[in-house]
Symmetry: C2
């Protein structure tokens, strides 16, 4: 299955409607572009965003043993339980944003006790990327499929817009390696402090990213995903591909999720037509990713949490951008 | 009636709760500060924002005869009718944001046909500020009272957060003069292109602002408001004062509305404790106003429409910021 490009004629028609509405041309700024893109995706001049879904993909990272995170790996299953209990940040934001939270455990290291509202453990966390590949290519494909499955489930349950979120202690290390490899950048250019690490841990994190990149030879996006991880990033790739295949807008969150968006666009370039950047985080590599995707973020609030929080937070703004195309035209308002 | 300062002990208690929640400290960025301020305003550690109200204040400006706007003054009543018919940008955004729109006609030049869901015409538009005072001090006070009345009505009908919006062809000229006078800045520093004027019209607008400032001698905020206008800006002052007096968060919109926020804070400095900046517009003077108020805007989407659009758009984000304080603590999640 391939992703169909968005029809540029719908985009043009939406812009024509945009300039006929009762406001000075351009006065709604970035909302105008967002609205026109949503119109073209939905193939209507009066787009509306209904129910949303945030698919939070969770998995563990072998590399977390290298001291690259401020938190131990045991936090991953705790936070998954927190998502299920409704106590996490994403639960509060999703409730306000009209979004249902789907929690996909694609590799949390808690055998035999499974976690997640959707369980498709490909393996119990990735292998340590500083030592070798995170997983096999078949496992990466399996994790992508798991993300696609949950996305399809959300769509069958009424979602009209999908956001992806991530949970996995150590995952900004994988995301940094993956981003460096995909964009041909140095570890230094894309590695940040994640949830907040010390100078010493940051030096260690950089060394780990460089080591992982040293093992990497392929330029194939699926190879890179398998070699650098993680399982939840792969699942997010699946969410974006399935959302775009279904013709729905898909919203990126922070650094690990946007790494997944980069992979999705390499696998299926037309995914880009459906992508919206929810926010820009404080991770320096996130800005590089957004530039590579040519996406302007909806929000810039200095978030660095993940879980899909920045994506879900942007959904009401996207909903407004869509609704604005239902304004009266100057003609309808008797003003011409 | 005076505005009571927000209790710093509540702010401190909210920050203590913020750092106990299941997220890395600081990882929710600016949302954390917003949430704590909302908690302190509501005097609870679990704030929630319910129903919102956007009070759109409309009036005409004598100075519009000087060619300072891209649109003729006749657009003001047309747009008020559009607000009432639900066809304007603010109607679409308010519906998504869970906000009711109150339209206050405090001086639209359409006698004897009144417009607005709330009508309190102080006069049929201001006098031309390039020639003399916009209105008398008594009229300015009357317009403030009109804004306060509608704000109180909205509060009695269940509003838990108030936003102010503006409609008035020519009002960025008044707002520029008022901002320059209040902040002790030059016309050049604070005058922009409003809804989008040509270079020639911009030169004319600057000359008009300078002329208006030349007539101005007082430094009293109420005198300046009366001399430089406008009636809808005065009504917005009333919305902010009444909202803060009632202990509710109040949200600024663009350049004219933020000029009103400046006046409100000069009249009652504690209004600042209740103010939230909805967005930063492209008007250069808006950035100066926000800096003077020490307010970081929630959104930066290059809007330049007014009507309360940027304020209403920020309400879902504020609602999320409040809701986030209801996250589980590490202790509640069994993570300590």
């Amino acid at each position: 299955v391939t992703v169909k490009p968005v029809d540029p004629q719908w985009l043009e028609a939406a812009w024509q409607r945009q300039v006929s509405l009762t406001k000075p041309p351009g006065s709604l700024g970035f909302l105008e572009e967002l609205g026109c893109r949503l119109a073209a995706i939905q193939q209507t001049l009066r787009p509306t965003l209904g129910k949303a879904a945030v698919v939070v993909c969770a998995a563990d990272h072998g590399v977390s043993a290298q001291g690259v995170s401020a938190y131990p790996a045991s936090v991953t299953p705790h936070m998954v339980h927190n998502f299920l209990a409704g106590g996490a940040a994403i639960n509060q934001i999703a409730a306000v944003a009209g979004a249902e939270v789907y929690v996909l455990d694609v590799g949390v290291n808690t055998a035999p006790n499974a976690t997640g509202s959707h369980i498709a453990k490909v393996r119990l966390g990735t292998a340590d990327i500083s030592q070798g590949p995170a997983m096999s290519k078949a496992e990466a494909q399996q994790a992508i499929q798991a993300g696609m499955q949950v996305a399809k489930r959300a769509i069958s349950e009424g979602a009209t817009v999908l956001a992806a979120g991530d949970m996995g202690i150590g995952n900004t290390t994988s995301a940094a390696a993956l981003t460096a490899a995909l964009l041909g950048m140095s570890a230094e250019a894309v590695t940040g402090r994640g949830t907040g690490i010390s100078d010493a841990a940051y030096t260690q994190k950089l060394a780990v990213v460089n080591k992982a990149l040293g093992h990497c030879t392929s330029s194939d996006p699926l190879d890179l995903l398998a070699q650098l991880g993680g399982l939840e990033i792969a699942a997010c790739v699946g969410v974006f591909v399935a959302g775009a295949q279904a013709g729905l807008p898909v919203v990126t969150d922070g650094f690990p999720v946007t790494a997944a968006a980069l992979v999705a666009c390499r696998l299926q370039p037309s995914v880009r037509d459906y992508l919206f950047a929810g926010h820009r985080s404080v991770e320096p590599g996130h800005t590089k990713q957004l530039a590579a995707l040519a996406l302007r973020p909806v929000l810039e609030l200095d978030l660095r949490l993940g879980e899909g929080t920045g994506a879900a937070l942007a959904i009401p703004v996207l909903r407004c951008a869509a609704a604005l195309l239902s304004m009266a035209t100057f003609e309808e308002a008797g003003m011409v």
